[in-house]
Symmetry: C2
Subunit: 197 residues, 2 copies
DNA sequence: AGAACTCTCTACCAATTGGTAGAGAGTTTG
DNA sequence: CAAACTCTCTACCAATTGGTAGAGAGTTCT
């Protein structure tokens, strides 16, 4: 309990930046949500951009933790891939703002793209190694691990987060619909990754 | 020749909104790029948001045209899918701001998502029909066409935007790298879509 | 007790924002 | 030629922005 003011600011900022976006969220708006004045925010962070960077750092830790949890189960081949997909979807439902922040940060004009990138790099390295190992072991179809990772990332995060696109396509944003989407995605990935028999 | 002022504004706006984003691009900044005053912009468009909507409309036409060109070749099965993927990548290289705009518009909670959506809807319908038909004909592995479409969209746009992010971070997008990505993506799709033999 | 420190606030500020009013130059129309 | 219209501009404006200065209340240290 007793969440510190600093943590409350970071929570609200993650939610705001991850859904509305960084540029459109003013310090005043953020402060209003918390029932404080923006000067209090500027007491804890030297500037608006510093809040953003702190949010990114915290998000990177959350993401790394979630990934770590799934990766340390000793699963193999497709089962490991599917475990992570399931986790990403769980994240998308429980904490949509987290993946929303990733989307915000990885936008072309973003000043802080590399901040998240460098913190996530170890995860990516580990994922690439995993794919390579599993291909060698014959558990996954052989292909370029780096590129495969990129395709996997885009597909999974996209399917999990592109709510507007889904709405535009007439897909219901219900929990049931989300589960169906995950299952279909899993089938899709299985078809793409299963070693040729 | 003799591009009208209105068209020059739309061009610059597409580039700015598609890379920097709508919120962070002020009318003054836009006018500066064109060597005019923002009041001239407001002569052609009643408000900043009207500029955005006009940009979306123009982009929708460009996208529909590109799609139409690829779709009217009478290709079949995976060949048709790959032709469109190739076209999207060509777009991503030649006009990265166009996909950037799509990304900007499809941000969760976007007010203008519907505007693009309704204009793109016929394309989506057509694409869904195509996939369904090709599955029936046994040219593509059977799966939920809607989900498949979403996966395709996420993956292709995701991989294409990722190129932009890297470019923004200083990694020059070599033609070779782009082609390599497209080929890996194609392999990925082929593995997932090829009818089981 | 008093000094120092922590935290949140009020009071400002200069810059930037989207937008309005309307002048002035050039062109087209009657 | 004069009137009307088209286009771009200067001059403003009120609201919002991120940020500074410093007061005041409460707590902790000596």
């Amino acid at each position: 309990m007793a969440e510190t003011t600093r943590d409350r600011i970071l929570d609200a900022a993650l939610r705001a930046y991850g859904t509305e976006g960084f540029a459109v969220t003013s310090l005043d708006a953020l402060a209003d949500q918390l029932g404080i004045r923006k000067q209090t925010i500027l007491y804890y962070f030297p500037s608006k951009h510093a809040v953003f960077e702190a949010v990114i750092d915290a998000a990177a830790i959350d993401l790394a933790t979630a990934f770590e949890e799934e990766a340390s189960r000793g699963l193999v081949g497709l089962e490991q891939v599917e475990a992570i997909v399931r986790r990403v979807f769980r994240l998308a439902v429980a904490q949509p703002e987290l993946l929303g922040l990733v989307r915000e940060v990885t936008r072309p004009g973003s000043l802080s793209a590399d901040r998240l990138a460098t913190q996530i790099a170890p995860i990516l390295d580990r994922a690439r190694d995993f794919l390579e190992r599993e291909m060698d072991a014959g558990h996954l179809r052989r292909s370029d691990p780096e590129m495969l990772l990129l395709s996997l990332y885009s597909t999974v995060v996209g399917v999990a987060t592109e709510l507007e696109v889904q709405r535009a396509m007439g897909l219901p944003p219900t929990l049931r619909g989300t589960v169906a989407r995950r299952q279909e995605l899993t089938r899709f990935l299985r078809a793409a990754l299963e070693p040729a028999r």
